[in-house]
Structures are given as structure tokens and as C-alpha cells.
Amino acid sequence: MPISGTRPRRGEGRAAAFFAAPSLLGLTLFTLFPVVMSLVMAFYHWPAVGARTFAGLGNLSTLFEDAVFRRTLLNTLLFVVLYLPLNLVVSLGLAVWISPRMKGRRALRVVFFLPVVVPMVANAIVWRLIYQPGGLIDGTLHAATGVHAPNFLGERGWAMFAVVAMSVWQGFGYNMLVFSAALDAIPEHIVEAAQLDGAGPVRQLFRITLPMISPSMFFATTMTLITSFQVFTQPFLLTGGGPGVDTETLMMFVYNQGFSVFEFGTASAAAWILFVLILGVTAVQFAGQRRWVTYDA
């Protein structure tokens, strides 16, 4: 990381301390300290009120013996496995479809991005009404065919898909903008040269467009992977984790352990399991990037 002027100049040290102080203090108090504390908590039996006792790895074994925890682990993986590819395909597809030269492209991009900046609570509430018996889907289907739609949020087998569908609708606009920016940056002469050489649209997509935006695809995949493991608000508000615990995610489990059961120890241990899981898949992502990401364009 080369930075201009590495030779310390007299008098700037004190000024630097002044300028950096708010961030350094804030970060120490509100990030570094809680992280250390979380790690300590994970090894303690730490109820919100009452005596704490050292538990060692006890919290971990408690968690893995807990059928609900194991289920939330699976639910989270299922969410990620469904959400990630859907999000990427839709966002990439639309970014390519809204071609760089079409009229009204900025308005379209803003429309698809809109749910990203709308409070998740508002998005989730309207989707409750859409999924509800008598709501938008059921009402339309029943009027058209006389058949009622399933109770999407209340039926096993539907609930997770309903949560995923709403989440994709809400979230893909972000990646779409990432891809659009990358597509806009592809030099026109490269596309023209390919066309002159007789490359069809499919060949152009796979031989030129996708390789040229592969760094963006890597960025989007990694970020979406990380955030989708942390999914909380959508299932919390759409289904409350139900039916049963069919849509309860790891982050919801952490929240419930912490703030309904008030067991900070197991909550912290569960949070660290989630974090390690995220670190693991991110590491795999980074290890695999050499095979498909091209940085020299």
C-alpha cells in the first residue's frame, strides 16, 4: 500500500491523534470491545440476569444437540442455495436486457432498484397481503380459474419459497446496478470487433460480456453470499419463522436466544458458528476465483 510521504513530519502526530480520535475511540468501544466480549460470552453460561458460569465448549454442544438449531442451520443453507442463484440470474439477466444504449434505461434501473431503499418492513407487509388467502395472488387466481391459491406463508413446503421469492424481488436491484455499471464500462470497440468477426449474441455474451464483467460477478456473488447467510428481517416479518420452525434462520435463532430466551452465551456461540460458516464459504469463493475471474481486460 504505497502512500505518499511515509517519513513522519514533526507536529503531525499530535494532529493525527486529534483527527483519528473519534473513529478510533468509537470503533474500539462499539466494535472491537463487543467482538472480544462476544467471544468470551460464547464460552460462558451467560443469562441476561443472574450468575455467569464458565461453560467451556458447553454452549456448542448444547447447540448441536438442539434440534431447532440444527433445523435453522439447514433452513439458512436452503435459503442461500435458493436465493443466491436466483438473485444472480435475475439481476444479470435484466442488466444485460436493459442494454447500454436503450432509451429510458436509467428509469428502468431506478424502478428495479426501488425496493432496495424501501424499508424492509414496508416491503414485507405488502407481501404478507399479496400472499395472504384473499390477497393479490389468491384473489387473482380465484377470479380467473375458480381455484384458490395455497396459503403460501402458512403451509409447509411453500413458506420458504415464498420468503425466497419476496427476498429476490426486494434485493436483486442492487446487483443489477453493479452489473449495469460494469456493462456500461465495456468499451464499444470490443463489442463491434466481435460483431465484425461474426460472433452471434450468445457467443458475445459468453465469450466477451461475461468474462469482461467477471470481477463484478465475483464481487456480487461474494457480497450476496455473505448477506444471504445473515437473512433475518424477511422471514421474521413474513412468517415469524413458521410454520413450526420451517423458515427460522440462524440470525433469527441468535435473536431469539438473545432476546426472548435471554441466553447470551448460546446466542453468542450461535453467532460465531454463523460467522465461521460465512468465513468458510467466502474463503472457498476466493480460492475458486482464479478459475473464472479475469482482472486483466
Binding site: 500500500m1 502512500i3 505518499s4 510521504g5 517519513r7 503531525e12 502526530g13 494532529a15 493525527a16 483527527f19 473519534p22 473513529s23 475511540l25 470503533l27 468501544l29 462499539f30 466494535t31 472491537l32 463487543p34 466480549m37 462476544s38 460470552m41 436486457w97 436509467r106 428502468l108 431506478v110 432498484f113 426501488l114 431503499v117 424501501v118 424499508p119 424492509m120 418492513v121 414496508a122 407487509i125 405488502v126 407481501w127 397481503l129 384473499g134 390477497g135 393479490l136 389468491d138 384473489g139 380465484h142 377470479a143 424481488w169 434485493g171 442492487y174 453493479v178 457480497m223 445473515q230 433475518f232 440470525m251 441468535v254 435473536y255 438473545g258 447470551f264 453468542s268 453467532a271 460467522f275
Partner: protein, 275 residues
Amino acid sequence: MPSRWRVVVSHAALYLVAAVFVAPLVYMLATSLKPAAEVFGSPPRLFGSELRWANYREAFTFLPFGRFVLNGIVVATIGTLVVLLASSMSAYAFAKLRWRGRDGVFLVFLATLMIPQEILVVPMFTLMRWLGWVDSYQALIFPWAFTAFGTFLLRQYFRTIPDEINDSARIDGAGLVRVFTHIMLPLARPALAVLAVFTFINYWNSFLWPLIIINSVDQKATVPLGLQLFFGQQGTQWNLVMAASVISMAPTTLLLLVLQKHLIRGIATGGLGGR
């Protein structure tokens, strides 16, 4: 099919997809203007028997929704100012000042970017109890105001400003604080704008942390938390809930429409926002 026609069909189909995509938001708006008895119905209709604007008035009177909006504006505004001030100051120290250990400290800063919220919420709550901040406005504002992200973003921007500008101002007798406030900050205005927009939106939309830390919801809730309360109490009054939802999305939607260029640039240059 001639290629001209193919383009027309492709664009028409694209607009159709966009229309289906915004349907939920249109449905929200439509429901917010319907009489309570006409929310459900088969087939669903865009308009009820009247456009009931009174829903919006009632959304504000049934629960202290005006209070939630005010809380949200105050928390998001102060939070954004704190973020801008703290991160621009430290970014200046990291980008332009020379001091021992600078690069090492900066690496620690960057490393904290990896720490996710799920690790932090439980110990943060305990910390709030120790500070006596549970159920307070400062707890809504400060705990998340010191992420390394803003510092990183602004440091990258400050580094593009030539050192000569700084040095000549110093030779002219300007102090470091003056250089910071009169040269660096004005020059960094585009980056500050991007950071401000995203920070404001994040504060305004934040749900999990207010849910954890706020107990007296009637007084201190921000909009998403208040909306959830509204929903819980008034699950049957869909039209009022939808009116409140429309109000909740108004500020950030407005920001998006007015500042779309800044927002899009922020995303293109370095993964802001999202979630």
C-alpha cells in the same frame, strides 16, 4: 423477424416485466387509498369505490406515527452527521497526515469491516446496559456510527487530491484544521454526498437494532419499528397499514429519485448500501 422489430418487442417485453415488478408497490399504494371493507376482493381491483385519503390522516392519529417519523428523521440525520464527521476526520489522518503506525492502524480498521452485525448485537446490548443506554436515542445513533467503511471510502477519495494543494496552503500559514475544513472537505463533496445518502437510508431503514434496544416503542420507535407495531396491533386494518407503509418509503424513495446519479455511482465504485 427484422432486427428493428426484435428490438421493439424486446423493449415492450422489458417494460411489461418492469410493470409486473412494481405491482407490489402499486398494490401498496392502491390499498392505502381503499375503504377498509374493500381491501380483499376477487378479482383484486386497483381502485375502491372511493379514493380514501383519510386513511393517511388516520395512520397518523391511530398510533403516534408522526412521532415515529420525527424520531426517524432526527436519528438518521444526527447519525449521518456523526458518520460524516468521524469518518472524514480519520480519513484525513490516514490519507494526508504523516504519523508513526499509520498503516498498521489502518489495517486494523479495515479488518473490522469483516465483523458482521450478528456477532455484535448481543454484546452491544450488554454494553448498552452498562452505559445505561437501553431504550434511548443515543443507543439508536452511536453504536453503528463508527464503522470503518466511511473512513475507507473517504480515505480513497482524499488520496486522489494532490498533496501540493495541502502543502501550499500550509506554506501560506493555514493550520491543519483549516486545511481540512476549507480545502479537503469541499473537494471531497461528491464522496461525502454518496456516503451521506447511503448512511441516511441505512439509519432510516434499520430494523433489527431498534427492535432490540427500544422498549418504549410509543415514544422512541423509528419508522420501521413503529410500522411493525402498527401491523401487529392493526393486522386487520390493511388500508391504514398500507398508508403508513407508503409514508415510510417516501423519504428514501425521494432521495433515490433526486440523487440517483450519486447512488448509482456509489454502487458502481465500491459496494455501498445493499442488504
